[in-house]
């Protein structure tokens, strides 16, 4: 079956549109998150979103309406923990991750049992995106793009040097909160296709690869956005052609891109 025919399936169209947009948002948000050493927050949030999803299904709520507020709340909590000198932040995030995962598994085992649904939450499914999800992805992506370009210089300043930004009158905590909010939304939207265990790689990999290749913040941001969308499309196509799970295939594409970037950086240094 040719690549062209693949796009005649409505579920693939939906996955492509929603996935590419979520990848774009995740990559843009990932650059400041990785540079601020907040990568683990993205990972923690994906575990929280798994727990929230399991609880929502058990209680009969619409998954998105329940998990969005829960994950947003968790994002603010994790951000506070990461910035607080009193907490050992990576340990705290690990505790939150494991607890949400355990809660999710417990709830599932007492309700539906370990079914393919659970497998889908954990590792994603290309069939997960409904029309409503695609619409929400478009809205989210527009919001991330608009906010990111509007506050681009401020996000740069706060990422590079929070103390200086505060001293020159910038409300750094607002920009951190904005990043956390948008990251939470991106993760909730992306996790059902990518899987709770795999979604955080969309945030982290493109930024890491771009940092190997570019020397300016603008270069890194643009490169991360482009590679993320390209890796998603490549991953989706491969997953369709060889019937592999989409989440894992997209992560593999990102990993390949990262290794390639490392190789290029190493060759340049010689």
């Amino acid at each position: 079956m040719s690549l062209w025919e693949m796009f005649s399936f409505p579920f693939i169209q939906r996955a492509l549109v929603a996935g590419a947009l979520v990848s774009l948002c995740a990559a843009l948000l990932g650059v400041p998150l990785v540079l601020k050493r907040y990568s683990m927050i993205g990972d923690g949030l994906s575990h929280v979103s798994f727990g929230a999803l399991a609880v929502a299904v058990a209680l009969g709520f619409t998954p998105l309406y329940f998990s969005i507020p829960v994950v947003v709340a968790a994002a603010f909590l994790l951000l506070r923990v990461a910035d607080s000198p009193r907490w050992n932040s990576d340990a705290a995030i690990a505790v939150v991750s494991a607890s949400s995962l355990a809660l999710g598994v417990l709830v599932i085992s007492k309700t539906s049992g370990m079914t393919t649904d659970v497998d889908n939450y954990m590792f994603g499914s290309v069939l997960a995106m409904s029309r409503a999800d695609v619409a929400l992805s478009v809205v989210l992506c527009a919001a991330v793009l608009a906010l990111f370009s509007l506050f681009y210089h401020r996000i740069f300043a706060v990422t590079f040097d929070e103390s200086f930004s505060r001293a020159t009158g910038l409300r750094a905590e607002r920009y951190n909160a904005l990043l956390a909010l948008l990251t939470a939304l991106t993760i909730v939207l992306g996790m059902r296709m990518m899987g709770a265990m795999l979604i955080s790689s969309l945030v982290i990999f493109p930024a890491l690869a771009a940092m190997r290749l570019f020397r300016s913040f603008r270069g890194v941001t643009l490169c991360a956005a482009v590679t993320s969308v390209a890796c998603f499309c490549a991953g989706l196509a491969v997953s369709f052609a060889w019937s592999t799970p989409v989440g894992a295939t997209v992560v593999a594409a990102n990993l390949a891109m990262f290794l390639l970037a490392c190789a290029i950086a190493a060759m340049r240094r010689k």
């Binding site: 681009y152 210089h153 740069f156 590079f160 040097d161 020159t168 009158g169 913040f217």
Partner: protein, 237 residues
């Protein structure tokens, strides 16, 4: 408050969560001053800087700032963080971010701001670095770039938090020369927290010692003669 006063602290107490770290301090910072803040670890030097920058409200007493210093127009050179040292950004991007407090919501910096950013880099002898990546620079060059950024934010007062930490002696020497130049030739007021006493005492106009035993404010010569400074006298000679 007189016309040359930039910051006036009266009977100032600073601290966190009601616990005062620093109490009953009186301090005038005037245009063209060069003040070094010295003292033991944990004596409240960084707390005082946070207060002067307006990041920490006083527990009691007042901090008055000249009108031009309001809205964050203070040049600040913070201590570098570990994440910053390998940050992918060009020198130009970093220096331009100093203008953020004077920039509207437009996406681009103005041509005037760009040329002033280059001028500030030139003033610090770092113009040739402008297209380099911040993470590829040496510690001394990074400090110069951050200083150029601070100059973009403010033209009359710089506040520096241990600027020579992590620099080798030659780079530290260079930085002190640059600071003395900014102070004497450009009339920039400097407030610097430092552990490195010798150069501080050579260049500074005044020394503020904060410690658990009390505070001392005076000229470097008076400081060395005081009980607080006597133990540093040998080091300074």
């Amino acid at each position: 408050m007189e016309r040359t006063d930039l910051i006036v602290c009266r009977d100032l107490s600073l601290g966190y969560e009601g616990q005062s770290v620093l109490s009953h301090l009186n301090l005038h910072i005037r245009a063209g001053d060069y003040l070094c803040i010295v003292g033991d670890n944990g004596s409240g030097k960084s707390t005082l800087l946070r207060g002067l920058l307006g990041l920490l409200p006083p527990l009691s007493g007042t901090i008055q700032r000249a009108a031009e210093l309001e809205r964050g127009a203070v040049g600040y050179l913070p201590q570098q963080t570990r994440a910053q040292r390998d940050f992918p950004a060009t020198v130009e991007e970093v220096v331009l971010s100093g203008f953020l407090n004077r920039k509207g919501l437009g996406f681009f910096y103005s041509a005037a701001q760009r040329s002033q950013a280059l001028m500030n880099l030139g003033k610090l002898g770092a113009l040739e670095l402008k297209n380099q990546s911040y993470r590829d620079l040496s510690g001394g060059q990074q400090q110069r770039v951050l200083l150029a950024r601070a100059l973009c934010a403010a033209s009359r007062l710089l506040i520096l938090d241990e600027p020579v930490t992590g620099l080798d002696p030659a780079a530290a020497q260079d930085l002190y020369k640059t600071l003395a130049y900014l102070n004497k030739k450009e009339g920039m007021a400097l407030v610097m927290v430092t552990h490195d006493l010798r150069p501080a005492l050579r260049e500074a106009g005044a020394v503020l010692h904060i410690g658990h035993g009390g505070t001392f404010l005076g000229s470097p010569a008076e400081y060395l003669a005081s009980p607080y400074g006597r133990r540093f006298k040998e080091a300074a000679e």
